[in-house]
Amino acid sequence: MGGAVQFRAIARLAALEAIRRPVFLLVSLSVLVGIVALPLLLNYTLGDSARMVRDSALALYFAGGLLLAAHAAGEALARELRRGTAAAVLAKPVSRATFFLAKTAGVAGALFLYSLAAWAAALLAARAGADDLRLDWAAEGPALLAVTLAPAVAGAWNHRTGRPFASAAFFLLLAFLLAALAVAAFFPTPLERLAFPANFAWPLLGVGLLLYFALGMAVALAAALATRLPVTPVLLLCAGLFLFGLMADYFLGPHLADSCAARAAYALLPNVQAFWLLDALDGGAHVPADYLAAAAAYAAAWAAAALALGCASFRRLEIAG
């Protein structure tokens, strides 16, 4: 199908453009350095550091991801419209729907790469901080090396070739963190001498995936809003709505029985709580597959609705570029 060729070309370029934006590197680097530094900050201080490292890492990942999702999706449309590239592309035999959906898919793809890096960092940090009184340097060392080395190598490469620094640094971060994961896998944990695969807290990935579903919803919402609004309001609305979605049970829960408005708001709001399963990790069990599937279905349906509205809005948008 010809449409698929166009879709892939536009999505791929959108992902690259998102990753090349300095903001993307700034946010992802802050998040990744933050995650990797957690064991250094939290160990030796209070009890229960393992849990705090894990929860903080996922919270950092989600907050940074939300920011990136809203910003990247907003910019993907707003900047293209401003810069005139959207006009050039839509003057080709490309339908409005293909353009809009491919852009959104591209941003979701960029966010997936960010997620991979963040999950790797979270696995490493959770392992390094698993014990209250002892750092696991086999995990912490490679992780620290990865997040410091990547920007340095990217800088050197940029100096030599003049190619974009931001994207190079991001891709190196991802590659180095995955490499750090591989290195750490070779070493058993210091206390219980657990060897691979038992030396990592894999259930963390299930919760990470759930959070990625929520980020996908944020991308869809931000893209839909960006057909009509500039980047800043998109960012504020998106972040606000998702934070409110996280607290929906607390605010709306008591009123669900007697208020139609509360019920409607509860149904429409992104139910972020369903994706925020950090407590489930305490038992060390995996997130059940059918729960993952149900959450994915909910996220897909919610995102599809947002995208349908976005598509309809974009179809009627005038491209003044």
Binding site: Q6, A87, A88, V89, L90, P93, P164
Partner: protein
């Protein structure tokens, strides 16, 4: 039977509204024109007269407030018809991090050109616009003229039947301008329809068969250049300057006697453009060129 026009606009209007839907600018105020198939049509007008707005309506990017618009026998918003159109936008429209080759490859995918065809055409077009040597530099670093050439290549990738050029010569040096004009004439000779806008009158005069003059959203005049510009009540006569001034006086006296009026006498002047091009070409032949490389007139795939 004559061919149907490539573009037909009837009482076309466009009013820009602000965020609250209040009318703000009447950019196009009821214009009607037809761009005949296979001709070069110039839309002339000062800045802000509504040229780009009209073109964006033709491409379905903006929606007319009122009026009818037919493009290659279809509605402007039809997607399929775009594969027969090439468009050079007025301003920046390139992804700054892509190289020329990557940019063209991206657009080739949007046109769904088969891989081999795309590779072939991209090579030929890079050669044609004289940027083959800069193929691996990001276009964000390019000068305005170089970016313009890529825009031109991008508009021709699909070997379009209808070429729409918004200010094609803006930002180009004289050689570049000449090359674009030659290109337009070559395209027209191959039966393609070209619609271009400009406020550079000399450029329009050189290539357009028909023009429409737009001012403040209204059409002030339109027709073929011959019909608009020829002064049928005057005649120019050109002959070699006689060696003896007396001969000239004799000729003038005869003319005065026959016509009953004094003829104007002057030496015809060469236009600056051919003179400039000749001087530069001579210099370039003697020394190595450092700027844009003079390029082939028309990519082979466009000549078929």
């Amino acid at each position: 039977m004559e061919n149907p026009p490539a573009i037909q606009a009837t009482d076309l209007r466009k009013t820009f509204r602000d965020f609250w839907r209040r009318p703000r600018v009447e950019a196009v105020r009821g214009i009607s024109f037809a761009v005949p198939a296979g001709q070069v049509f110039g839309l002339l007008g000062p800045n802000g007269s509504g040229k780009s707005t009209t073109i964006k309506m033709i491409l379905g990017l903006l929606f007319p407030t009122a009026g009818r618009l037919d493009v290659l026998g279809d509605a402007p918003r039809a997607v399929a018809v775009k594969s027969r159109i090439g468009y050079l936008p007025e301003e920046s429209y390139l992804y700054p991090h892509l190289t020329p080759a990557e940019t063209l490859a991206f657009y080739a995918r949007l046109f769904r050109l088969p891989r081999a065809v795309a590779r072939d055409r991209i090579e030929q077009l890079l050669e044609m616009i004289g940027l083959a040597h800069a193929r691996n530099r990001p276009v964000g670093e390019f000068s305005k003229g170089m970016a313009r050439r890529i825009g031109l290549a991008q508009a021709l990738l699909n070997d379009p039947d209808l070429v729409i050029l918004d200010e094609p010569t803006a930002g180009l040096d004289p050689q570049g301008t000449r090359q674009v004009k030659d290109l337009i004439l070559a395209l027209a000779a191959r039966g393609k329809t070209v619609l271009l806008t400009s406020h550079l009158l000399a450029d329009v005069e050189d290539v357009c068969a028909q023009v429409a003059i737009l001012f403040n959203g209204r059409l002030l005049a339109q027709g073929t250049l011959d019909a608009l510009l020829a002064q049928k009540d005057k005649t120019t006569l050109t002959f070699p300057t006689p060696a003896d001034p007396a001969t000239l006086r004799q000729v003038l006296a005869a003319a005065r006697a026959a016509l009953g009026a004094d003829p104007d006498v002057d030496h015809p002047r060469q236009a600056l453009e051919p003179f400039f091009l000749h001087v530069v070409a001579t210099a370039a032949r003697d020394g190595a060129a450092s700027g844009a490389v003079p390029a082939a007139p028309l990519a082979p795939f466009l000549q078929k």
